[in-house]
Every structure is written in structure tokens, then in C-alpha cells.
């Protein structure tokens, strides 16, 4: 019905020429503000954030001659004199704040680079007649060390793989090539694995609990159904922060749960239920259960009892009917509920922050940390790219399976 009226619409717009043009003008005039708004306030901020994960032009912009010279050098042996000359020339005209900024970028390569650069910039004398190489050596002997120059060479291009590699616990080695960072520095693969794992565990627990609940609600009489749905919706409608504060009150060492356990004599001393993984799982499952129950329920409630009855009447056993008839029908709901819950949990920030310990923080925490605490935009952005890729893969999967399940339902 709806489709026919649309195609009629489209056909008419094509035929009537000028009037059609006027109509399409109002149509796009209505659509444009929203699209424009989303492009500016949603897409642009995210794209410019993610770009920072691969684009870092500090060295190129502040030390242009040095960047060109050091890139012209093949990276083997000592750098040629022209590199030293370029650095002296660049530093003598560069703004102090820009130099500090470059220093911060270079510090990611070698931890003492920032102080070396700032010190060199303030010690350079314009009237010196010494050759640049000797001049730099006199300020700090570190300039003899070629690793500082190879580091400069890695940081010179505006497009840098540094942050993305770092986000995957990799680095560009001095002699070229890519390798793992030292084990004590490796953090982020662990964080990524943890994020994926926590999301998977929460998804699995929620599915196991949500399936019978959704089934029970869908099997109830219509009056009960409304009431039971309301009971699922109530916590769903309750603000996340309200629920989180409830869990903190409940799970603290001297909280309600521990008081009950102590009072009943089940335990002799409080058990730690918060600021660890247990607390994170409890709070996450509480948040995500409605997200799992509602989509599965909405599929189940549409399944006619006739299908299972037909299977029974043809002699199928209970389990056979369940696996061969009921489950395939519910499958689309299960898939979409699982993917939805996974996507939501993998990007969560607040719950682990308030209920988890330091070992329970996920990607979001580190994105926030590198934005606000250490102001390492490059690394924050690289981690954001990682998270975005996870979400895009899942959403792509959702689209793919969604199409497939539609076909199954049609067939």
C-alpha cells in the first residue's frame, strides 16, 4: 500500500516538470537542515577526531626544513650536515609554544626528547659562527646519538602510523620494520580484548536470562503481558545513573547485600562485590537485560502457536519442535538483540568507571583518559578508531544478518 503511493508520487514528480521541481525543492528544503545539522554536529566532529589518529603535522609545520632534510636522509649512518643546519634554522625562528608542542610529539618516540628540544631552542644563539653540528653538540651531546635523528625522521611525515601502531601495542623499530613494544609497555591489546570479552560475557548472560523471560511474557495472557512488559520497561526507563547509584549502595563492603549476607551468617566477613569484575558484570547485566528481552519478546509474540502445534501433531518431540520450528523463527530476534547489546556494551564508559576497578576499564575509559588527563589526542583518536571499527563491523554484521533473516522469514 505504502510503496504504491510512493511510486505514484515519484512518477508524477517526473512528469509534471516545473511543478515537480517545486515539490522536490520543498522536499529537499525540509530534508537539508537536518542533514546539514547532522553533518556539522555529528559527522564532522567524529571525522576530525578520528583523523587525529593518523594525521599529526606538528613536526612538518613547525620544523619544515628539518622535516624535509631528515626525510631526504636515508636513515643509515650519521645524518648529513644539512639536517643539523635545517634544525638550527627552524628552531631559531620557531615559536616557543610550537616547539613545546613538537617536543611533546617527539617525546612519544623518545621520552627525553621534549626537554632536549626546548633546551636546544633556548640555548641557540643567532650570532654564532660555529657550524650547526658543533653548535648542537655543544648544547647537548645527545644530538650525537643518531636514534634522536631516526626518531625525528619517523615523526616528520604529517601522516603517521605511530598512534595506530601504539593502539595495537606495536611500534616502528629503529632499523625500520614493525615490531611489538616491550612487554611492560603493552596495554592496549589487553584493553581491546577485555572490552570484547566483557561485552561477550554480558551478552551471553543476558541471552540466557532473557530468553525464558521473553518466552514467558509472550506466552502470558494479554492482560498479564501488559503488566509484565511494564515491569521490564520500568528499570529500562530509570536513568542509568540512578541504577548505578543503587548498585553502589547495595554492593559496597558495608552495603545492603553484604549486611544481609553477614546477618544471615552465610559469610563471616564482607565479600568484595564492587570495584571489580563481579560488580561490572552485575551492573551491566542489569542495564542490558531489557535491551535483550524486548527484541526477543517482540519476535516471539508474533509467532503463531499453530506452527508448534502442527509440528507436535505431525509427531515431532518437544526438543525437535523447539530446535527445528520454534528456534529458527525466533532467531532474527535473538541475533538483533545480541548484536545490539554487544554494540552498546563495547562502547560503554560510565558503568565500568563507577563500578569497576582499574583492571575492568574498557576502551572508552582510555579514550577519555588520553583526552582529558594526558592530552594525547593522537592516541585517544587511534583508540577511538579501534572502537569505531569494532562498532562498524558489528553494525555491518547486523545489516547482513538482518537481510538474511528477512529472506528466511519470507521463505
Amino acid at each position: 500500500m505504502a510503496t504504491t503511493s510512493i511510486s505514484m508520487d515519484g512518477g508524477r514528480a517526473g512528469r509534471t516538470g516545473f511543478a515537480g521541481f517545486g515539490r522536490s525543492l520543498t522536499r529537499h528544503g525540509l530534508l537539508l537542515p537536518c542533514l546539514l545539522f547532522m553533518a556539522v554536529v555529528f559527522v564532522w566532529p567524529i571525522v576530525s577526531l578520528l583523523a587525529k589518529g593518523v594525521y599529526s603535522p606538528e613536526v612538518r609545520d613547525t620544523l619544515p626544513q628539518t622535516a624535509a632534510a631528515v626525510l631526504a636522509w636515508d636513515g643509515a649512518g650519521d645524518p648529513p650536515d644539512i639536517v643539523y643546519g635545517a634544525l638550527v634554522a627552524d628552531l631559531s625562528v620557531a615559536d616557543r609554544r610550537d616547539v613545546a608542542n613538537v617536543g611533546r610529539r617527539l617525546n612519544y618516540e623518545i621520552p627525553s626528547y621534549r626537554s632536549l628540544l626546548v633546551k636546544t631552542a633556548s640555548a641557540l644563539r643567532k650570532d654564532s659562527t660555529e657550524p650547526p653540528r658543533q653548535q648542537l653538540m655543544a648544547i647537548d651531546a645527545k644530538w650525537q646519538d643518531r636514534t634522536f635523528w631516526t626518531a625525528m625522521r619517523r615523526a616528520a611525515p604529517a601522516l603517521t602510523p605511530y598512534y595506530m601502531l601504539k593502539a595495537l601495542d606495536l611500534e616502528q623499530k629503529d632499523g625500520g620494520g614493525i615490531g611489538r613494544v616491550a612487554p611492560e609497555e603493552a596495554t592496549f591489546l589487553d584493553v581491546l580484548a577485555r572490552s570484547l570479552w566483557i561485552s561477550a560475557v554480558v551478552m551471553a548472560i543476558c541471552l540466557v536470562l532473557a530468553f525464558p523471560v521473553a518466552f514467558r511474557i509472550s506466552a502470558a495472557s494479554p492482560r498479564w503481558r501488559g503488566l509484565l512488559l511494564l515491569l521490564v520497561l520500568l528499570p529500562f526507563w530509570t536513568s542509568l545513573l540512578v541504577r548505578t547509584s543503587a548498585w553502589v549502595v547495595l554492593l559496597q563492603d558495608n552495603g545492603i547485600v553484604n549486611s544481609l549476607l553477614l546477618w544471615s551468617g552465610i559469610v563471616d566477613q564482607p565479600i568484595h562485590l564492587i570495584f571489580n569484575r563481579i560488580g561490572v558484570y552485575i551492573a551491566f547485566v542489569h542495564v542490558m537485560l531489557p535491551f535483550m528481552i524486548l527484541p526477543i519478546y517482540s519476535v516471539m509474540v508474533g509467532i503463531s502457536k499453530d506452527y508448534t502445534r502442527a509440528a507436535y501433531s505431525l509427531g515431532a518431540s518437544g526438543p525437535l519442535t523447539f530446535y527445528k520450528v520454534y528456534l529458527p523463527l525466533v532467531w532474527p530476534g535473538i541475533w538483533s538483540a545480541c548484536l545490539l547489546s554487544y554494540v552498546i556494551v563495547v562502547g560503554y564508559y560510565i558503568t565500568p568507571l563507577l563500578i569497576g576497578g582499574s583492571q575492568d576499564q574498557m576502551l572508552s575509559y582510555f579514550i577519555a583518559f588520553y583526552t582529558k588527563q594526558t592530552v594525547n589526542w593522537g592516541l585517544a583518536s587511534a583508540l577511538a578508531i579501534l572502537l569505531t571499527v569494532c562498532v562498524l563491523v558489528l553494525v555491518g554484521l547486523y545489516g547482513l544478518l538482518g537481510r538474511k533473516s528477512q529472506i528466511v522469514v519470507k521463505a
Binding site: L31, P33, A210, S245, W247, A380, V391
Partner: protein, 274 residues
Amino acid sequence: MSSPSARKSKADIWRTLASVITVLVFLFLLLPIAAVLPLSFSSGSFLAYPMPGLSLRWYEELLTNYKWLLALKNSAVVGIGAAALSTVLGLSAAIAMRGLGPRARSIVNGFLIAPLVMPVIIMAVGLYLFFSNLGLVGTIPGMILAHTVIGTPYVVISAGAALQNFDMQLIRAAKSLGASPWMAYRRVMLPAIRPAIVAGALFAFVASFDEVVIVLFLAGPGQVTLPVRLFEGIRDELTPVVIAAAMIMIMISVGLMTVIELLRRKSVARRGME
């Protein structure tokens, strides 16, 4: 092969198990909130049972403390602003999308509801970066713009669903009777989908009212909203005031969602009538 009665008893076992799990899940979902909320009426300052006595002192403190009042005001202003802007943008987009071909429509639709699946932290950090260049960090307008991004998808979804069932012939009929296009939309289409529009606007308000991550990044001390006050309360000192604030927030969001649900039923009934 098992006999029919054995099969029936086995099925009963599963059904009973499902019922037991359902009861336990409902207890798990509701009990924590129900157990904690009464503590806001405690006369003592510890969040534990038994309460030393009942009093409204924490509500009194909540309603006289300027920090909480400011947070309440900020939440209301940002929520209403974002809901209004979301409604204008989302509704006009939903109306325009009706005229697109199925392919273009599904692309536009996917684009407009993308904020629902984008991790909020990425939006928050991106907006923080973008707005700090524009001087919008630490301002109420900045927060309204940011929350409009997360509110618009709800209006698009809600109004879009109602428009799907709206018969465009009615607009044509109105025009043939001499109504201008604007008049036809305002007097014929809008009244027909009004419940869905109001529901979408309320959804957008609730989305803003509950949002905390973006506010954590964009708000200065003067723009703190209720959920962020709650966040600070949980992190710094958890007193019954926080629970009293939670109680108020529950009443606001559950009240609004109940209105949305009633509107939804009304619009379903309206469709049924046609």
C-alpha cells in the same frame, strides 16, 4: 518415542523453569532500585538499614541546595532546548523522507539514526574537540546542540512510523480543495500524527535528561546537569541526598515514559480505526 503424557510433563518442567527464571529476573531488575529508594527518607546520613527514623530532610536539602537546583534547571533547559530542536529537525526530515525513493530513504534513515549506535564517548570527545575551537565548551547552547544529535533519531523514528501509515491522498484532497501546501500539512497531516510527534519529542527530552558522558566533557561547573551531579555524588560522597535526587529523576523519567506509552497506544488505536 515418549508418550504424550510424558512429553507434556517434560514441557511442564521447562515451562516451570522459565517461570522461575522470569520471577528471579524480575526480582533482579526491580529489587535493587526498590531496596535503595526508601533510604532517601532516612533521618540518618548512612545508606543502610535499619533506618534510624523517617524524615524528609534530604528532600529539603535537595530543594534548598543551589547546586542541585542549578543542576535541575540546567537539565530542564538543555532537555527542552534539545527536544525542541530535535523535533523541528527530525519531523521535517521525516516528512521529506516520505518523498524519497526506497533506496535513498534507507540511506538517509541509516544516517539519521547512526547516533544511536555510535559510542557516546566518541561523540563526546569529538564534540569537545570541535566545540573548544568554537568556544562552545562550557556553554548551554553547546550542550543543547550536542543533545540534539542524540534526540533527533528518536523523532525521526517516531514520526517516520506514524507517517508510514498516513494516507498521502488526504494531502492531495486538501490541496484540491484549495489549501496551500503549508496549510495542508499543518491542518491535515500534523493533527493526524501529533501523538507520534509528542512521543518523539518526549523521547528526545528523556535522552537528553539521562545523558551524562557528553555533559561530562562539555559542561563547566555552571552547566552541570542532574545525572552529572549524581555521577559526582557517587564518586565523591554517596549520601541520602543523592538517593533523593535519584527518586526525583525516576519520577520525572518514568512519568514521561508513561505518557509516551499512552501516546503510542493512542496512535496505534488511531491506526486501527482506519
